[in-house]
């Protein structure tokens, strides 16, 4: 439980920026600090700034967040989140970046758009495809945005809260049935 | 440790059982067609039956091979599976029959009854012909070996060619045509890759194989199997693997260069044998060189699409080829049907003779003595026994290799042949030519 030792509990999003948030604001990139997730600094970055911010965090010698662990799509009550877990291979730094697209901004029938990191960070490629597949976040600029876990002709995004299952994937007459 | 000894005992029992089945059957059938039936015909119809009697005798090698090949494959597959199990701390097939003795018979029956599938887009004629072309050479190839195996038994003398070695080498290059045909006709990319690999491999490994065999023929001075085997009579030191008798000529008074040449010749011949074993493994597609099949890469290589009896024929041919290659090595290098130590062979023969006299002495009153004597000729039995031991020892050695080594990659395989084996074979050929004269 060594990670939680240096955890400073912050109560609201208006708290003072943490180590990485400070680094970003020093470089002129705005970020919004969110409640820490179990002692790990969590920031929200505007989607236009995402690419910039990630590049900065990856390259700058103080941070060296060079390991993109995962890109998770989350269908939150108010927004679609794309969550990036960054680690450092040479230092002990950890950071969670969230990019939020409010549900009110997304037109019905459209998918929320978040800029893709796949061009600059190969690790993001498959994770973004997975997030697109399961949660339905469109990563603009992705080189090969295609369903990865579900069949290529699958309808819907299963991890959406409003997702309706096909009646019975094994036995019915629906077109994606396995029979 | 104890369980391993136990398993080895089981394996020995299985081997004994199967050898009795194989050679008993072949022996019995050959004898009844070649000796008993002609005798009966001649005694019934006199001179007019001579043609039929001769025809029957001429058929003996054919019948013997047709019987021997499937039975032998049954045993070899079973032995290989049991041995692999032994090497890899498992039990192996042990359910069908006593200790699983008839597992392969059941497997063969299963294969015969299975549905035969022809893939869509396959070239039916080529697809059907491929296993036949693959299998035919192995049947033809066994023939000249029969004389050597049976110690030039009168029934098998007709198939002993004066150029038997040459004949087998010629025949052994045909199967690759079958492989390429099968791989191409299957309309499967894996098969095609496997077939092309096989072609490349067969061509590259045939050259060092040929060179090593030629060198032995040079040493023996003949292409006749029976003569090559007879040249190695006497003891271990006369075997071609130790220089074909170069060491036995040495005495206290021999000049130093003669001793050195003889020793060098023996070393060269051991190398030749190693060369032969390596190339033979490649020729019959055994592990480290099983690239045409390469299960983990090409699913099953050239025979991926084959099923049922066609697959069975491929399987049969592969194991028969392995046996031919082993027997070939036993004749060429390991003294054929001769025992490794001088006294052993005579002891075998005289012991058998004594046994026969004790058992069949009672038959003589009925004038059947000569019949029995031609059924169990002590000299032939001793010959066959020794050559079987040597051939199967090599077959088991191939199983050991299979249980140990990973597979080479295709480019490494070609490199190994062209850059290492071919030069080595050429050097050995020249060295043996000169050393032979110096001894």
């Amino acid at each position: 439980m060594t990670e939680s030792d240096q955890a400073e509990k912050s109560s609201a999003g208006t708290a003072a920026p943490g180590q990485f948030g400070q680094l970003l604001s020093d470089n002129g990139i705005e970020s919004n600090r969110l409640p820490d997730s179990c002692g790990v600094e969590t920031i929200e970055v505007d989607r236009q700034q995402l690419e910039n911010a990630v590049q900065r965090l990856r390259k700058s010698p103080e941070a060296v967040l060079d390991l993109l662990l995962a890109v998770s799509g989350v269908d939150s009550p108010e927004s679609y989140d794309s969550v990036y877990h960054l680690w450092s291979t040479s230092k002990s730094g950890e950071l969670v970046i969230k990019v939020r697209v409010a549900k009110s901004e997304v037109a019905p029938g459209e998918l929320p758009e978040v800029p893709s990191l796949a061009r600059i960070w190969s690790a993001a490629n498959w994770h973004e495809r997975e997030s697109y597949d399961l949660v339905g976040i469109r990563y603009s600029g992705h080189p090969y945005l295609r369903r990865i876990l579900n069949p290529w002709n699958w309808v819907g995004h299963p991890l959406r809260r409003d997702y309706k299952q096909p009646v019975d994937a094994l036995n019915d007459k629906n077109p994606v049935s396995f029979r | 440790m104890n369980s391993a000894v136990f398993e080895i005992g089981k394996f020995a029992r299985l081997t004994l059982l199967w050898l009795c089945i194989i050679f008993g059957a072949v022996w019995g059938v050959s004898w009844s067609i070649g000796v008993l039936l002609p005798a009966v015909i001649l005694s019934q119809s006199g001179e007019s039956g001579r043609f039929w009697a001769q025809l029957l005798q001429a058929l003996v090698p054919v019948v013997a091979v047709a019987l021997f090949v499937p039975l032998n494959t049954c045993y070899m597959v079973l032995a290989e599976r049991r041995l692999l199990a032994l090497f890899t701390v498992r039990k192996g097939p042990n359910r069908v029959g006593p200790d699983g003795a008839f597992q392969t018979v059941a497997d063969a029956l299963k294969l015969l009854l299975k549905e035969e599938i022809t893939p869509r887009g396959a070239d039916l004629l080529m697809y059907t012909l491929a296993p036949v072309i693959f299998f035919a050479p192995s049947i033809i190839g066994v023939m000249p070996l029969l004389a050597a195996v049976s110690g030039n038994h009168p029934l098998f003398t007709p198939v002993n060619l004066p150029t038997g070695v040459f004949y087998i080498l010629a025949v052994s290059s045909i199967p690759v045509v079958g492989v390429v045909m099968g791989g191409w006709a299957s309309n499967n990319k894996y098969s095609l890759v496997g077939a092309l690999r096989s072609a490349a491999q067969a061509i590259s490994y045939e050259i060092p194989l040929l060179l090593s065999i030629i060198t032995v023929c040079l040493l023996a001075g003949t292409l006749d199997f029976v003569q090559i085997a007879d040249n190695q009579r006497g003891s271990l030191l006369n075997w071609n693997i130790l220089g074909g008798g170069a060491l036995t000529h040495l005495g206290i008074g021999s000049p130093w260069w003669s001793i050195a040449a003889a020793l060098l010749l023996a070393a060269c011949c051991i190398l030749l044998f190693a060369l032969y074993v390596i190339c033979a493994c490649a020729e019959v597609n055994r592990t480290p060189f099983d690239l045409p099949e390469a299960e983990s890469e090409l699913v099953s290589g050239f025979n991926t699409e084959y099923s049922g009896i066609k697959f069975a024929i491929f399987f049969l041919a592969e194991y028969t080829n392995l046996f031919i290659v082993s027997t070939f090595a036993a004749v060429m290098f390991l003294g054929g049907g001769h025992a490794p130590f001088p006294g052993l062979e005579d002891a075998c023969i005289s012991g058998l003779r004594g046994l026969l006299a004790a058992w069949f002495g009672a038959c003589t009153p009925f004038q059947l003595g000569w019949l029995v004597n031609s059924l169990v000729n002590p000299a032939t039995v001793s010959q066959v026994f020794w050559i079987i031991v040597k051939s199967y020892a090599l077959v088991w050695f191939a199983s050991l290799i299979r249980a140990t080594l990973p597979r080479l990659r295709i480019d490494q395989l070609m490199d190994y042949s062209w850059k290492r084996l071919v030069p080595l074979a050429l050097i050995l050929l020249i060295a043996v030519t000169f050393l032979k004269e110096l001894v």
């Binding site: 877990h85 291979t89 | 701390v89 080594l405 990973p406």
Partner: protein, 407 residues
């Protein structure tokens, strides 16, 4: 007049078609159901596209539609060769959110079973790696002999051979049966010799060296760029082992080394890394057996029998750090609201679990960060311009488990 045979002309004349070939989903060497769409030029791979998802079982969907208690039993299937680690990742993430302090004895038990699980996983990998390289018959069965012993032990303690469901949120499921520790200790005594046996077959085998050395070189930068972790990354020279870098559980009390290669790793380095890791895991298990508070299960059982104050919270033998479970395991299991990410070092790399909980009996979102998923993504880069036979060697050496990729 015959035109002169220029280099260009020759190249045009010898131009061959590329062959498109599907390797998998049913293929003996794709470790499950991976489909590789390969573009081959002769035997050389010119392009490779992995198609995954054939084993997708909607584990994340089930995570948010099953109760915590139900879901614990399912997650061993995420990576069926190292079920302990998936359980552990989920338990750690949930415990972090829930602020649960896991008792020390339970932590030691977790480390023991997890390291055993690492051994079984590496042993299976070693066997299948042999198969991938064409040692179809011999090698695979020797590691399986030892794996069988370990699986018997794991079955004795968890009740199952593969889907253990042993590490739970708040501790571990049960105490070891009588004689278990003695058996395990005896096994760890003989195991290093067994590893030497495998090495005797492979490590100096010229064919093996030819097939693995300088094949599938994974440069350090590329590995980090793709998020490759585990032995595959360490073989490429990055010392990222969570047990050392971010020590969790009781790893900081244990003495073990992490093998790191000092150059860009090839297939052989990845093999060697795992071999050394097996030695280290064996060491860890031995240390844990010696250090575990309360002694082995048999000793503790005797002490508890003799202890009259049994059942009281302040009993030195029964409560506190000697308990193995601090949360009630029933359908009412709940995790406080919050979000958190926890990772463990699985045999394949960083196995992470990202949980968003709203405090109800199911999770709001569970996201798995599977090492195989990221490790597999680098495969097309590694395969480029290698031969068909090397596909198996390289794919085997990065040790991908398809259910772990597909979830």
């Amino acid at each position: 007049m015959v035109p002169e045979m220029t280099e260009e002309l020759r190249a045009n004349k010898l131009k061959t078609d590329e062959m498109l070939i599907n390797m998998g989903p049913q293929h003996p060497a794709t470790h499950g159901v991976l489909r590789l769409i390969l573009k081959l030029d002769g035997e050389l791979v010119k392009h490779c596209e992995p198609v995954v998802g054939h084993l997708h079982r909607a584990q994340e969907w089930q995570g948010q539609n099953r109760t915590w208690f139900q879901y614990q039993a399912l997650i061993d299937r995420v990576d069926y060769l190292s079920g302990m680690f998936t359980s552990w990742a989920l338990a750690r993430a949930a415990e972090k959110i829930d602020d649960v302090k896991v008792p020390l004895r339970a932590e030691y038990m977790r480390v023991i079973v997890a390291e055993m699980n690492r051994l079984t996983s590496h042993l299976l990998w070693l066997g299948t790696f042999g198969i991938d390289l064409g040692a179809m018959m011999g090698l695979p069965f020797y590691p399986f002999r030892e794996r069988e012993e370990l699986l018997d032990l794991l079955e004795a303690i968890a009740g199952q051979r593969m889907m253990f469901n042993y590490i739970r949120i708040g501790g571990v499921q049960n105490e070891a049966p009588p004689g278990w520790f003695a058996r395990l200790f005896k096994f760890t005594g003989s195991f290093p010799d067994r590893i030497d046996e495998y090495e005797a077959i492979l490590s100096n085998n010229p064919i093996f060296l030819k097939r693995t050395k300088a094949v599938g070189i994974l440069p350090r930068k590329l590995a980090i760029d793709y998020g490759v972790t585990g032995p595959t990354l360490r073989a490429s020279g990055v010392a990222l082992d969570l047990r050392k870098v971010k020590p969790y559980s009781v790893y900081d009390r244990l003495d073990f080394a992490v093998p790191v290669c000092n150059r860009d790793g090839d297939t052989y380095d990845r093999y060697m890394c795992r071999i050394i890791e097996m030695h280290e895991s064996n060491k860890i298990i031995r240390q844990c057996i010696e250090q575990i508070p309360g002694g082995t299960a048999d000793v503790l059982r005797e002490k508890r029998k003799a202890c009259s104050a049994c059942g009281k919270a302040n009993c030195p033998h029964c409560g506190g750090d000697l308990a193995i479970m601090v949360k009630k395991q029933n359908a009412g299991l709940r995790v406080k609201a919050g979000e958190g990410f926890a990772a463990v070092e699985s045999p394949r790399g960083v196995l992470g679990c990202y949980i968003i909980s709203t405090g109800s009996d199911t999770a709001y979102r569970i996201k798995w960060r599977n090492p195989s998923f990221s490790n597999l993504a680098v495969l097309p880069e590694l395969l480029l311009d290698h031969q068909i036979a090397d596909i198996m060697a390289i794919f085997g050496s990065i040790d991908v488990i398809l259910p772990d990729v597909d979830r």
